[in-house]
């Protein structure tokens, strides 16, 4: 799996920030919404105006506990601290965060392959505003002007810190992917990396043996997709190895991942690191959820991805490798209920899985409101032979496009009708008769012509023919 030079090993820990899907911000009543006009969801509290005070959003506490429970964390009484540093998008010039006593203590996450990654903590904190730098390189240094949008200021975040248990770039990606699925399943977060609602930082170090102490680590920022997590971790480990093999030393620093260049570069060194001067936030009181509340949250928690994958495995019996890949993807994308609904309706599990993993997963439309019963009904028609595979896919596309519908009516409107048994034989005979030279070569062993005949027959039947029946009909005539 690893592409590191022989004898080298990497050690990785990830810090994942996820925005919570609360209606309002962490410490005020402003809307927690992405994409609104800049500086419209703001008030004295999230603008840090003189005299304004924070009041903790209890829904954010509930969501943080959901995440903690989903990650098998210890849920504990906690408190907030102030993290002090100056930055224009942070209105109070300090961030309210949790420090020595986070709401979620140690837990773990099991990767689909079975590897267990420790979770150190998952704590609550507020997001900053968003700065856009105009001119220069688009970063603060050398820019002509900076515009700040405080709509994001005070949006609730949970920061999930893994233990340094990750051992490869692929594993880092798998961890981020599994965590993303868990966050979505918990209902606490939408996990949208492209909108920045889930952001990943990676701590990477390397060493010359698995029994050696950890090397000096670098923190990589700006990982905006699962792909960049894997690429950046791989790049960074190789960079550190090259440095060490040349006799150099790794400097502890924060580095920026440049997705286009495929490289990391120094953002700030340890010497330039802030002294955050953490101290207890005097404007807030400790968070002390009762056991009864925690139990209520636990009871209300939806099944997590691992459980949902196990449910699909049990439907399939003994899935093959391709099916395992499919079910991983289906659960990661939260589409497993389509499979389950179809199977419950009588569709065989492999068909339900493969159509969900391909036709549904590949759709660029939102599937949030898609009617699972309509999908199941379509697959039942296919299973019964009333629709060919090709026709079934076309009907599915239509159902997905409209969020539902009656597959029989859609099939009829497309002119898809079940071919009478004799009808296909007639078409096959006609196509063969029309292309005697090709038929002779096919019978002489030119297998490539199978596709030629299948295509002609499909065209003649407007796609209504079943691929398997066509294949069988051609073979029967050949012999």
């Amino acid at each position: 799996m690893s592409t590191l030079p022989d004898g080298w090993f990497m050690v990785v820990g990830l810090e994942v920030h996820t925005e919570l899907r609360t209606e309002t911000k962490l410490f005020c009543g402003c809307a927690n919404a992405f994409g609104d006009q800049p500086n419209t969801n703001i008030c004295p509290v999230c603008l840090g105006l003189p005299g304004a005070l924070p009041v903790l959003n209890q829904r954010a506490v509930e969501y943080a506990i959901r995440i903690g429970l989903a990650l098998h964390c210890v849920i504990q009484d906690s408190s907030f601290h102030r993290k002090n540093y100056f930055y224009p998008d942070m209105p109070k010039d300090f961030q309210i965060s949790q420090y020595d006593i986070p709401i979620n203590g140690p837990g773990y996450l099991d990767l689909p392959g079975g590897v267990r990654i420790g979770i150190e903590r998952a704590h609550l904190e507020e997001d900053t505003g968003k700065t856009t730098h105009l001119g220069g390189t688009g970063r603060i240094h050398g820019s002509d002007e900076s515009l700040v949008d405080y709509n994001r200021s005070g949006v609730p975040l949970v920061e999930i810190v893994s233990c340094p248990d990750i051992r490869s770039a692929a594993q880092a990606r798998a961890y981020a992917a599994e965590l993303r699925s868990i966050l979505i399943a918990s209902g606490a977060s939408d996990g949208r990396m492209e909108e920045g609602s889930m952001r990943v930082d990676a701590n990477v170090s390397v060493r010359r043996g698995e029994d050696q102490p950890f090397g000096t680590r670098c923190e990589i920022k700006n990982l905006n997709s699962l792909r960049s997590v894997q690429r950046a971790v791989e790049y960074e480990a190789l960079r550190q190895i090259a440095l060490l093999e040349d006799g150099g030393t790794v400097r502890q620093e924060t580095r920026h991942w440049d997705e286009d260049a495929g490289k990391t570069h120094t953002l700030r060194t340890k010497e330039e690191a802030y002294d955050y001067r953490y101290f207890p936030e005097p404007d807030l009181v400790p968070v002390t959820p009762t056991q009864a509340f925690i139990d209520t949250v636990r009871t209300g928690l939806a099944p997590m991805p691992a459980e949902r994958r196990a449910a699909l495995v049990s439907l399939l019996g003994e899935p093959n490798d391709a099916q395992i890949d499919q079910l991983l993807a289906v659960v990661e994308q939260g589409l497993d209920h389509f499979v389950i609904t179809a199977v419950n309706a009588g569709v065989n599990a492999p068909l339900a899985l493969t159509r969900t993993a391909n036709e549904l997963a590949a759709s660029d439309r939102s599937l949030d409101n898609l009617d699972a019963e309509a999908i199941a009904a379509t697959l039942l028609l296919e299973q019964a032979g009333d629709l060919s595979a090709t026709q079934s896919k076309a009907v599915l596309a239509e159902v997905i496009a409209h969020g539902g519908g009656d597959p029989k009516a859609i099939a009829k409107s497309k002119g898809f009708e079940h071919m009478a048994d004799g009808a296909l034989d007639l078409v096959i005979d006609e196509v063969i008769a029309a292309h005697p030279d090709e038929w002779e070569r096919f019978c002489g062993g030119d297998e490539k012509l199978q596709g030629f005949f299948t295509g002609k027959i499909m065209a003649a039947t407007k796609g209504q023919a079943d691929g398997k029946a066509v294949s069988a009909g051609l073979r029967a005539r050949k012999n």
Partner: protein, 472 residues
């Protein structure tokens, strides 16, 4: 006339709120040129508010408990649309878009918000000399300070410009100027009065409270502003306190503690008046017990670490990015530095540096951490003391009002003027300063009554009693 009587007259149309307002404006006109208690005053707004009260009454409505009563506001409380500066150049010209909760409560009670009063910049000081807009003078002797940091609010009441005002008390900033100006001043139990809209100096210590000419007026104003506020997480979830029902209950049967250390270093004249107060309490049937508590004197050192530490963080937001004054620089960092260098006065800078240092990596445990341990020790000490008594009586300040410039060169001597008031803030307990006669030069002397959390009803009873005995 008490504020209750004023409100009653306004409500029954024996007088009109506009008349009260004009009298107030005339008094300010007559005195404030010399005193400089006000930083902002808008005569038209005062009259408009008063007309509003009168028209409510004319319409048969009940404008509230403070109908037409003029109240001056310390300029670290946010009032919508009215300049709020904290006596700092960095906030010069800033107008809050919202009302502090105490301002809302005053409006709802029908009070007329007179104007914003002077203070030491960001409430950091004990003389009002740290105001960026000039010092306030003591109405009793203009060569002397009115105390601080709420010097403007104390002087405005002391000079009879307004009957009552609001201040804030972080380490004595209500009680010390009350003592210096000869008025009543209460620092309530932490969490009884909302801090929402109070511009923070040290969040865990700050508390808004009343100044008044009489104990009764202070009690009424306290009842109006107190009570739970969901906008302040540290606000106590209790019903609004009632101090007026039993205010005339007297002191018979009360056990009153005397802490020798809370008299340490007092001048003879201050000590004499405190002893006179003790005698009066004893004669009225209170039991006085001596309870040494040297730990309380450690409060000063702890306070000057905790308060600056919190201040260093609270004042970080004045960076020139969003509001207030901005001094341009080559980049954001240079702009922030230039803004803060030009905008803050020396004392504010001193405390930001002290606080930053106390919180720094490697020093936190020795300074901030240690100070928090002392704070816990002081809370425990009070707990022990209040096993043996209901209240404590002592001096508010070691001396009477001092002369301008006498302590500005030596910050430590200025800090020492808070030594008797600071322990209550560290413990979150209430304390009240009541005028109890004058010293040799005719300068006011305040007696301080301290009590455990939520003991305001008892404090007011004892304060009311002392007020009646002031002639002794």
């Amino acid at each position: 006339m008490s504020i209750v009587a004023t409100a009653e007259s306004v409500r029954t149309k024996q007088t009109r709120a506009v008349v009260v307002a004009d009298e107030t404006l005339a008094a300010i006109e007559a005195r404030d040129g010399d005193i400089h208690a006000f930083l902002h005053l808008d005569a038209e707004s005062i009259r408009a508010q008063a007309r509003g009260i009168d028209s409510q009454i004319d319409a048969g409505q009940h404008p509230g408990r403070l109908a037409g009563v003029p109240v001056a506001i310390k300029d670290n409380l946010c009032q919508r649309g009215v300049p709020t500066t904290c006596a700092s150049k960095i906030l010069e010209g800033w107008k809050p878009p919202y009302d502090a909760t105490v301002i809302t409560r005053l409006r709802e009670a029908g009070a007329v918000l007179v104007g914003k009063t002077n203070l030491d910049e960001f409430a950091m000081g004990s003389s009002t000399e740290n105001s960026a807009f000039g010092a306030t003078k003591n109405p009793v002797d203009p060569s002397r300070v009115p105390g601080g940091s709420s010097g403007g609010s104390a002087a405005a009441v002391g000079a009879d410009m307004v009957p009552v005002s609001l201040g804030s008390d972080t380490g004595g900033s209500i009680r010390q100027p009350a003592a210096f100006c000869g008025v009543v001043g209460l620092k309530p139990t932490y969490g009884t009065v909302s801090r929402y809209g109070l511009i923070a100096f040290a969040s865990s210590l700050d508390q808004v409270g009343p100044f008044a000419r009489s104990v009764d007026d202070a009690g009424v104003l306290f009842e109006v502003i107190a009570g739970h506020d969901p906008m302040d997480s540290t606000s106590l979830a209790i019903s609004a306190p009632d101090v007026m029902t039993d205010i005339d209950g007297g002191v018979a049967g009360l056990r009153i503690g005397i802490i020798p250390e809370l008299m340490d270093g007092s001048s003879d004249e201050v000590r004499a008046r405190v002893v006179a107060a003790q005698d009066a309490l004893r004669e009225a049937g209170a039991t006085l017990v001596s309870l040494p508590a040297p730990e309380l004197l450690l409060g000063l050192a702890a306070y000057y670490l905790i308060a600056p530490a919190e201040a260093s963080s609270n004042l970080a937001r004045y960076d020139g990015v969003r509001y207030g004054n901005r001094v341009d620089g080559a980049d954001v960092s240079a702009m922030m530095i230039a803004t803060r260098t030009a905008g803050f006065g020396d004392e504010v800078k001193r405390r930001i540096m002290l606080g930053t240092y106390a919180l720094s990596a490697g020093y936190y445990d020795a300074y901030y951490g240690q100070a928090q341990k002392v704070r816990t020790l002081i809370i425990e000490t009070f707990h022990r003391i209040y096993q043996s008594c209901d209240l404590i009586v002592g001096a508010t300040t070691p001396t009477t009002a001092f002369e301008f410039g006498s302590k500005t060169a030596d910050p430590m001597s200025m800090y020492y003027s808070d030594i008797f008031t600071i322990p209550s803030n560290l413990a979150g307990h209430p304390a009240i300063s009541v005028p109890f006669g004058t010293g040799e030069a005719g300068l006011p002397i305040g007696v301080q009554l301290l009590g455990p959390a939520l003991s305001e009803p008892t404090l007011f009873r004892a304060a009311k009693f002392l007020e009646t005995e002031v002639g002794r």
